[in-house]
């Protein structure tokens, strides 16, 4: 049974694109995304992770099994707008997601289309733009913003729909390191401070490290599911999947054969440095 705290539940979810006759894109995917959690979905290109994202707000429907969004079966045609109101989807390319010329008009687009009263729309636009830290740009022309700023405006457009969950499909893939950091800190804040459930699809392991939970996909199936520490300690397996652990994790992993006292679950440069220093402690220089 679906518990009330579950945001999204996929049950033996399978999916094949019509007429392709090849291997299914998703196979037997059973996942529960708890309300308020931050889940990263990792996988290489073609692993099925984007298809999974599109299943989470009924852009695609299961060909096997089912997807429940707060208990609603996404195949119930009459309730598809309810599903999409609960789960917003953000894409990779910010340029494809901006519809209006001025930032605040862009964010107001969805609420206006839903016939939400003007004052309520204005309130939501302010809330959304503040949530992504773009309020001071509200009267700016959207096409002149940087990639990271555009992506945050696109996310604000989703927040204005007041969703309970946002699914982001590689939101940083087309951004530079500054834009990437802007978007990531925004996503983290939306989760921690605004209580929005986050599902972030990515192939950057460093980004997945900030989630509560990491789900790894390969060939349409879930192959690993755990905390970042649990998942990243499987360095060899991840590499065999065409993924790459952070350099700090890999460095420690390679030394562990000869130095078994090193931890298996190093996530960042600080932890790696501490582990190495610990190894040399008490050894004469």
């Amino acid at each position: 049974m679906n518990k009330t705290e579950d945001m999204i539940q996929t049950i033996e979810l399978g999916f094949s694109y019509p007429g392709e006759g090849g291997a299914p894109v998703l196979q037997g995917v059973s996942l529960t995304v708890e309300r308020g959690s931050f889940v990263a979905v990792l996988g290489h290109n073609g692993s099925g992770k984007s298809t999974l994202a599109k299943q989470m707000n009924a852009v695609l429907l299961p060909t096997e099994g089912k997807v429940l969004v707060e208990g609603i079966d996404t195949r119930e045609e009459a309730r598809v707008f309810e599903v999409r109101q609960k789960v917003g989807l953000a894409f990779q390319n910010p340029d494809n997601q901006i519809v209006a010329t001025i930032v605040e008009e862009d964010v107001a687009f969805a609420p206006e289309n839903l016939n939400i009263p003007q004052e309520e729309t204005a309130r939501r636009v302010e809330y959304a733009l503040r949530a992504v830290d773009m309020w001071e740009y509200r009267t700016h022309s959207a096409h002149q913003l940087s990639g990271g700023q555009k992506q945050r405006v696109a996310i604000a457009g989703i927040i204005a729909m007041m969703p309970h969950c946002i699914v982001l499909d590689e939101p940083t893939a087309m951004l530079d390191p500054v834009g990437r950091e802007e978007v990531l800190s925004t996503v983290r804040r939306l989760n921690r401070e605004n209580g929005i459930t986050i599902v972030m699809i990515t192939h950057y392991m460093k980004e997945a490290a900030m989630a509560d939970r990491v789900v790894v996909m390969d060939k349409g199936k879930v192959v690993l599911d755990g905390t970042p520490r649990e998942v990243f300690s499987e360095v060899d397996y991840l590499e065999s999947l065409g993924l790459e652990a952070p350099q700090a994790t890999t460095l420690i992993h390679r030394l562990r054969g000869d130095c078994p006292s090193l931890p298996a679950d190093v996530l960042d440069e600080e932890e790696a440095a501490q582990a190495i220093l610990h190894l040399f402690e008490g050894v004469a220089g």
Partner: protein, 288 residues
Amino acid sequence: MSRLEVKGLTHVYSKGTPFERTAIEDLNFTVESGGFVGIIGHTGSGKSTMVQHLNGLMKPTSGQVLLDGKDIWEKPEEIRALRFRVGLVFQYPEYQLFEETVYKDISFGPRNMGLEEREIDARVREAALLCGVGDELLERSPFELSGGQRRRVAIAGVLAMQPEVLIMDEPTAGLDPRGRDEILSHVHRYHEQRGATVLLVSHSMEDVARHATSVLVMEHGKIAMHGSVSEVFSRGERLSELGLAVPQVTAVFARLARAGLPVPTDVFTVEQGEAALRRLLRERGVIS
């Protein structure tokens, strides 16, 4: 010998209008023949504007670009021929595919060069092979391919012209680690097999550290640093000021050095880091 020389290169957009903006200012550097240069810097630092001057796609407001000692604009009517010698791969080049088949797309450049059909065919097949585009894909429509395959086709189209200088503007953006490593290994092979000079614009310090021999750092339209990979990446603090991050493993070694451990600070790849630590562990008798 220097293959490429940039002297006082300046570009001002919309000069003489209220929108006047200096994109690059007084750039001076040389690239040795057969060199592999990584170009890093923020979005907006002028990297793309700069590289578009190197194959004559943009004309300097002032200053010069010299190829083998000759100003590329000396005879403007020859600029088209220059573009066969200096190949430029844009960001997201797969959006520029337009032909009906992969074969036709890759052959577009060599055909424009006026080569014979046999030579065109040989070059298309060689470039396709080098970029991991299998024979079975050559007669397919580029639009039936995956994103990573399309990117490789677009790069093969530039390599088929066999440019002496290859410039790539973020060729791996948006690819997963496997796709990224594949593309960079194709580029590396082209560099080695043909002795080609390569300029790689990248946001990934890890990629630059792994493939380039020298690094050019741009900031606000100027050159902030230019030197060997070790020279540039050992200045981690300056790079942080510029909003650029050193490779994660370099940051680990900077912390170790600060804590007093006698480790090198010019470590940029996991392999180098592992070797340096093993050496020290052996010296201290922790491992044999």
